[in-house]
């Protein structure tokens, strides 16, 4: 059995929207299939068993501890670097 990691993009009361790390595919998963994980924090990253990536078995989803924070820290560093030359204030483009 293979597995794929998925990141939680957003959630509503009825379902969760995940993005596959492998190919960026977006899926909506009913909250009823993830009751064993609730509550899920925004940005949570989970590993899900699948049959070659074609059919994730959401009831096997398991939280990858610390992964969301690791990604946020890495992204924050990139954002800081990206905006370091911003002079701030009003600008004429």
């Amino acid at each position: 059995m293979l597995s794929t990691s998925w990141a939680l993009d957003q959630q509503s009361s009825d379902f969760f929207t995940f993005v596959s790390d492998k190919d960026g595919i977006v899926v909506h998963v009913p909250a009823s299939q993830l009751t064993h994980l609730l509550p899920l924090e925004p940005g949570a990253v989970v590993r899900v068993m699948d049959a070659g990536g074609s059919r994730p078995y959401w009831n096997t989803a398991a939280l990858i501890e610390g992964e969301a924070n690791r990604r946020r820290q890495a992204a924050s560093a990139r954002y800081k670097h990206m905006t370091q030359s911003d002079p701030g204030g009003d600008l004429e483009l």
């Binding site: 379902f15 993005v19 960026g24 899926v27 905006t83 009003d90 004429e92």
Partner: protein
């Protein structure tokens, strides 16, 4: 890597009739097309790109700003290619959800971006990482989302101040970038997927001087939590645009929001019903709205499919 498909697809807008409306007493009142002085006008097009947001601002000399790029690159890329865009002068990600930035990595590969702004709230998705990769590869200049005015070719893009991080933490929707675009006598407000918490903060913050606007993009695709009475009272828009797909998973637009518009005499312009929606902002004269397809007999108050009554296809991956 995603296969490029948009170069090979036929341009979907050719041969489609246009409808025009003047912003007069009722924005829903259709008028025959009239000549637009494009040399002295800016335009803002809400591209019909499925369940998401993506808009393109063209200045009078043809410089280009995009605000979000939708969930999939194809509609935005097709629009840019069809209109002869070669460079994006400024790209803004209102926030980092997939239905707003999903199209960015691929679009940025083919349309170089000079300047980029996002909300600074990192997402954990591969879509977000690829967006940053595309920006870094191009050497694009990054701007912080903070209270400021960016001027491009006479068009003012006022960035509303961001609420403090302590208010909503890593929540994306309520840290959406708010943009007030002004040209001539036209004022258009876009606030991504902002919900009541962020909007209340803007309404109550004395440093944010929100005044009536000509056009309001309904926040959060017409969700019940994206438009409040207080928000509408302050902004008093003459027309409202909603960017969404038909039969979307979220049931957008929600009935209470549509009812709120109805009692105010506003018939929303919906991308799911009329396709691309273009606001024409002349230097002088009346603002106009043009849509890809005629509004005809469409009921603009038709709510979306209720999320509770629709069937899910969750275990089969599908592109949004």
């Amino acid at each position: 890597m995603k296969k490029l498909s948009w170069y090979h697809r036929p341009l979907r807008m050719l041969g489609v009739g246009l409808s025009f409306a003047l912003i007069v007493a009722s924005p829903s009142f259709a008028q025959p097309a009239r000549t637009v002085d494009s040399k002295n006008s800016a335009t803002l097009t809400f591209v019909s790109l499925g369940q998401g947001d993506g808009a393109v601002l063209r200045t009078p000399t043809g410089r280009t700003v995009i605000i979000d790029a939708g969930p999939d690159p194809t509609p935005m890329a097709q629009w840019l290619a069809k209109h002869g865009v070669t460079t994006i002068d400024l790209a803004v990600a209102s926030h980092n959800h997939a239905d707003h930035i999903g199209g960015m990595p691929e679009v940025f590969k083919h349309f170089p971006v000079t300047n980029y702004m996002e909300n600074g709230v990192p997402a954990t998705t591969v879509i977000y990482r690829r967006t940053l990769d595309a920006i870094a590869k191009r050497g694009t200049r990054g701007f912080r989302a903070e209270a400021r005015v960016l001027k491009i070719d006479g068009v003012a893009i006022e960035v509303l101040p961001m609420p403090p991080e302590s208010m909503r933490g890593s929540d994306q929707n309520d840290r959406s970038i708010g943009l007030l675009i002004t040209y001539g006598g036209t004022r258009v407000l876009l606030t991504g997927d902002s919900e009541e918490a962020e909007q209340d903060w803007w309404l109550k913050n004395p440093s944010v001087k929100l005044a009536p606007v000509t056009i309001l993009k309904a926040a959060h695709h017409g969700s019940h939590n994206g438009t409040s009475n207080a928000w509408m009272d302050r902004l008093a828009p003459k027309a409202v645009v909603i960017s969404l797909s038909a039969n979307n998973t979220y049931g957008h637009p929600h009935r209470p929001m549509l009812e709120m518009l109805r009692v105010r005499g506003l018939a929303p312009w919906r991308t799911d019903q009329v396709g691309d929606i273009t606001v024409i902002m002349p230097l002088t004269g009346a603002t106009q709205i043009q849509s890809e397809r005629s509004r005809g007999l469409i009921d603009p108050y038709q709510p979306g499919t209720s999320a509770s009554s629709r069937s899910f296809r969750s275990s089969r991956p599908s592109r949004r």
